[in-house]
Amino acid sequence: MDENKGSLSAPAMSLLGEIGKMEQSALTELETISSEQELEQFRTRYLGRKGLLTAVLRRLGELPQEERPVVGQRANALRQKLEEEITHRDEALRREALARSLEREQLDVTLPGIPFRRGTLHPLTLALRQILDIFVGMGFSVFESREVETDEMNFVFLNVPPGHPARDMQATFYVNPEVVLRTQTSPGQIRGMRTYEGRLPVRFIVPGRVYRRDPADVSHHPVFHQIEGIAVDRDISFRNLVWVLEEFARKFFGPDTRIRLRPSYFPFTEPSAEMEVSCTICRGKGCSVCKYSGWLEVAGAGMVHPVVLRNGGYDPDEVTGFAFGMGLERLTMLKLGIDDIRLFYSCDTRFLRQFA
């Protein structure tokens, strides 16, 4: 193009000069543009149908045929350049506008959010779910039994005939001389066993409410919960019981938990044992919770008494079994460090909302 310059006609030279000036002024003007609206006006002014560059192109016809491409190319180059510049400018303007708008939309992030109300489950529910998971994992079914029971179910079938001194161990609420509020989940052993109709193996737990005629204090409540467990088969032994209790203690209280069994008495098991776990508070060193013994009583257990097996529909010459029972409140208190059983029944949401 340049080598042809010298041979161009005057009108062509003039047009080229105009194009050059136009380029300069357009680029200068473009830099001052600060809004999309101005940019659109700019585009119309130069590139629109009645724009300056278009006007130049129209004048191409005045030039000799052979000079038209040279000037035309020059004009088109400018058009292309301006279009690119406009696009760039447009993007820059959008970026700036977005930045300004983000700046404007700033919030005080320290103001509180919308109050979503988180619901909570009762700590006894949370603990019971965990306990059920542990036992179901060991193959125990779940059996729920009634709360108001016959004296026969609650005592007699469990080897506690009328006048038996063991009745003194549990203060009983009576509805009438034959009907009691169950003092233990153990009648569930009989009712549950009977649903198996002699099939083996029998293995289930009975969670539920029980009642004792004890005034409420930090460690007693007339209503509380127990979890009873029983396993019956042809060769269930005391050592199986030890295993189940150990598994439970480790899973519920933590893998370092140790257990200790010592002889005890329940009319419906023999041999009977009191199960203790190493103190969850002091880890066995001795503290006020464990009365400085390092051990905490958490469950009663033993081998199912032949009388109970018979009442459940099994022949004690054929099968053996173990059973255990524990207090849900006590387990939960030890696990969560709660020091007053009455809190469970208080409905006090300051207490309840701590255990989501």
Binding site: L111, P115, F116, R117, G119, T120, L121, H122, L124, T125, V136, M138, G139, F140, S141, V142, E147, V148, E149, T150, G163, P165, A166, D168, F173, Y174, V175, N176, V179, L181, P201, R203, F204, V223, I236, S237, F238, R239, N240, V242, V244, L245, R260, L261, R262, P263, S264, Y265, P271, S272, A273, K291, Y292, M303, T320, F344, Y345, C347, D348, T349
Partner: protein, 836 residues
């Protein structure tokens, strides 16, 4: 049962420390709850020799004397008859301390030692006694042990001649001791005696039991040996002077064996201080030497004994019989007691002189005037004495032993032991033989122990010798029988009846710690009942909806029922009643969860909570025609006050009807309960205009709404309160498990309508009509409600939005418009509702 350590050591000397012994006893089932170091509380008390005595210058009856207390001399005033020159007695010099008064009555655990001594001990000071300065006190046993003055007729302590003066009393009298406080389970009645505990200790340690000679004839360690000693004739008595006592067993079912022993010419007095100290440590109060001897023998052997004043027994006869109607007795504690019918009593010719096995009578008790004693040693029916004790509300040390059953072969040996103890302190002559009646032969109890069964139950193989050894050390005798063991049970082990009892004996003395866990080796696929699963599903939904789960008492009171305002014939107003409630507030079984939840709201209000949402799933109870009441599972939700307070950017959320309805709707939707409708007005305790029944497919599931103002008033709730309750079984029956429904593939069309309706018309009527008439309707929602200008009076404006859609195509505008026109027409025709 409290076991003084040194007393126990007399029968079996432990190779271990007190603490370790306690631990080992506990681990075989003799549960030692506390080890108390009962260190003697007095300080600086010493022996002293009386050097000279003069009459008190002012007061006849008092003397002034000098005592020599190991080199120092003190002038002392005393009125004791034993205060004579040459006597060595107990002395409290100025600055020494006596135990604080009444200190024998309570004992705390070992850790609390510090709180038990110190400021309350009584410091002895030099003081003026009617013009003479007494530098300290000479002491009776009672002052040394209790800090209280001498008892009637009690002299100062007089030590054997040649006792040095200036010896510290606690060492000289060996007063320092430990006490094992046992918390025995009901099957351990054989440890309600020091000897019983000694047998267990012997079985653990291998150290043999040493018994006093008098008891050597007692068969308790040798069940295969002779069951009885002495003269067997029931008519036997002594030949000699004085009254004869004939024993008549009128009710041998309740008392088959009664032994009486006469001791003549006893001297009344108090027991030696060491005996009294032991009784205190064992938790009994010393009375006098005669009574103390019977108590001492009981604590030692477990056989309760009673001492009558022989001369106060009328008619030379002891009848053991059931009480007769109208009979009463004044017992030792001075209380007149009506005898319950059928109580077993000991009677003389005049009437009851003791309640058998529980407490003796005042009239025939031994006293200062007693010269001849009739000692009773018997076996009473556990059930009978227990029943009598319960009726009388009277429990004694004797009863605690009789109600469990004492050794039926111990009566003769133990009465001899008590007689020996009496004569040692009180002198007198025991007459040979007994007044005795016997209507039974104690059975020899034998049980066969199948070793294979033992191994099956315990889960490990066992050497026969090991099993035999344990049983023998516990006093069982064992014989081989076809490879199994034939075991004779000592009569005192009333708790051992069958094979499993023997297995327990073996297991506990092997040590439970020796059984290693063994996994359950059969795989079982566990079953969780559908109701239990459903309850947890309910809980999960409710947790999502924002309330706190609570657990409330299943017992309630008449006030709770009354507060609900139920009609008298409402089943909820007729709860199951307890026969023996602790308090009236807990005398009924709840028929609804609502009272408990309202109380729960009130509790939180008291703690200044602005608003609370709580819920519970629990059992409610109703009387039934069956033997047992009906138990039903209920769910209830309660909301009170401002649930979320007004914030800088949102209005407050209140616990009103619509809050609860929203919660209930969400819950039912989550549970998959379909076709839910409501019917206005639930009964009490709901607000009649702001409550409804909730139904699904026409079946009532429960009720919800705001609470009646009268009920709110009873609970002091002063803000909006809403409740809901559901029958869980009804809910469960209507719930459906989630199932996949195709997601709509074609666009939906939403149209809004604003209409003017009569003010009393329920929005539900419009919805029902729309749902009935409109084809392809998939959603209906009221979004605006307006009363007042420009809407004319008696009318309201309702705006609702409808969503239309078809599963197989896009609906055309024309189709939808046709539906809308039909709806508008029907609304006008049927409900007098016009387009706005």
């Amino acid at each position: 049962m409290k076991v003084p350590w040194k007393w126990l050591m007399e029968y079996c000397r432990s190779p271990w420390s007190v603490e370790e012994t306690a631990e080992r006893l506990t681990m075989v089932g003799v549960s030692v709850e506390n080890v108390v170091h009962d260190s003697f509380e007095g300080k600086g008390l010493i022996t002293a020799k009386v050097v000279s005595v003069f009459p008190h210058p002012q007061r006849p009856g008092l003397s002034v004397g000098y005592v020599d207390a190991g080199g120092r001399r003190y002038a002392v005033v005393s009125g004791a008859p034993g205060f004579k020159p040459g006597v060595v007695t107990a002395f409290a010099p100025p600055g020494s301390k006596l135990p604080r008064k009444g200190s024998q009555k309570k004992q705390g655990p070992a850790e609390d030692d510090s709180s038990r001594s110190g400021p309350e001990a009584l410091e002895v000071l030099a003081r003026d006694v009617h013009g003479v300065l007494s530098e300290g006190m000479v002491l009776s046993a009672n002052e040394i042990l209790t800090g209280e003055g001498p008892r009637p007729g009690e002299d100062i302590l007089i030590f054997p001649e040649g006792t040095a003066s200036g010896l510290p009393l606690d060492e000289f009298l060996d007063l320092d001791d430990y006490v094992l406080e046992l918390d025995l389970t009901p099957n351990f009645s054989h440890c309600l005696s020091i000897i019983g505990v000694a047998v267990e200790l012997s079985a653990i340690s291998g150290v043999p039991v040493r018994l006093p000679k008098t008891l050597a004839s007692w068969s308790f360690l040798d069940p295969a040996g002779s069951l009885e000693t002495g003269d067997d004739s029931s008519a036997a008595a002594w030949e000699g002077e004085g009254p004869r006592i004939e024993v008549v067993l009128e009710d041998p079912d309740l008392c088959p064996h009664y032994v009486g022993k006469v001791i003549r010419d006893v001297k009344w007095g108090y027991s030696p201080i060491q005996v009294e100290r032991r009784l205190y440590l064992a938790g009994m109060r010393p009375i006098n030497a005669l009574v103390d001897a019977t108590n001492y023998a009981m604590l030692e052997t477990g056989q309760p004994l009673h001492a009558f004043d022989l001369d106060k027994l009328a008619g030379g006869v002891i009848q053991v019989r059931r009480s007769r109607p109208g009979e009463s007795i004044v017992t030792l504690d001075g209380v007149v007691r009506e005898l319950p019918p059928e109580s077993l009593v000991i009677a003389d010719a005049r009437g009851p002189v003791a309640i058998a096995g529980i407490m003796g009578g005042k009239e025939t008790e031994v006293s200062e005037t007693t010269r001849n004693v009739f000692l009773e040693s018997a076996w009473f029916s556990p059930r009978s004495v227990r029943a009598t004790s319960m009726r009388l509300g009277l429990r004694t040390e004797a009863l605690i032993r009789f109600e469990k059953g004492v050794d039926p072969t111990a009566q003769v040996a133990c009465v001899e032991r008590a007689a020996e103890l009496i004569t040692r302190v009180s002198g007198g002559t025991p007459l040979p033989g007994w007044s005795r009646a016997r209507a039974f032969e104690p059975p020899r109890r034998k049980t066969v122990l199948d070793l294979r069964y033992l191994e099956k139950v315990l889960g490990q193989s066992m050497e026969k010798d090991q099993v035999e050894g344990i049983l023998r050390r516990l006093g069982f005798s064992v014989q081989d029988k076809d490879g199994d063991l034939e075991v004779s049970v000592p009569p005192r082990r009333v708790d051992v009846a069958e094979q499993v009892d023997l297995i327990e004996e073996v297991a506990r003395h092997l040590g439970y710690g020796s059984f290693l866990g063994q996994p359950l080796n059969v795989t079982v696929s566990p079953n969780v009942p559908a109701v239990a699963v459903y309850k947890e599903r309910l809980r999960d939904f409710l947790r999502c909806l924002g309330g706190s789960e609570v657990v409330t008492n299943s017992l309630c009171g008449p006030d709770d029922i009354a507060a609900m305002g139920w009609e008298a014939d409402d089943p909820r107003a007729n709860p199951v009643k307890l026969e023996n409630p602790l308090t009236s507030d807990e005398s009924l079984l709840r028929t609804s969860l609502l009272p408990g939840l309202l109380k729960g709201l009130e509790t939180n209000k008291r703690y200044k909570a602005a608003g609370t949402v709580i819920w519970e799933i629990g059992t409610v109870f109703f009387p039934s025609k069956e033997e047992l009441p009906l138990e039903k599972l209920q769910l209830a939700i309660a909301a009170y006050g401002v649930l979320s307070p007004k914030t800088w950017n949102a209005p407050p959320l209140e616990a009103d009807f619509y809050y609860m309805k929203g919660l209930v709707q969400s819950l039912l939707e989550g549970l998959g309960v379909d076709d839910v409708t409501v019917e206005k007005r639930a009964g009490m305790p709901f607000h009649p205009g702001r409550s409804c029944k909730v139904l699904s497919k026409g079946v009532t599931l429960g009720e919800m709404g705001e609470v009646h103002p009268l009920v709110l008033e009873k609970y002091g709730l002063d803000r909006r309160t809403a409740l809901a309750w559901f029958d869980v079984e009804a809910l469960r029956a209507m719930s459906r498990e989630p199932r996949y429904q195709p997601v709509p593939r074609f666009p939906r069309v939403e149209r809004d309508l604003a209409v003017i309706a009569p003010e009393e018309l329920e929005a539900g009527a419009i919805e029902r009509l729309v749902r009935r008439e409109a084809k392809h309707l998939v959603g209906f929602r009221v979004f605006d409600l307006w009363k007042g200008a420009p809407v004319p009076a008696g009318k309201k404006s309702i705006a609702f939005s409808m969503i239309f859609g078809a599963p197989d195509r896009t609906l055309t505008d024309d189709e939808v418009t046709l539906e809308i026109q039909k709806i508008v027409r029907k609304l006008e025709e049927e409900l007098n509702v016009t387009l706005r």
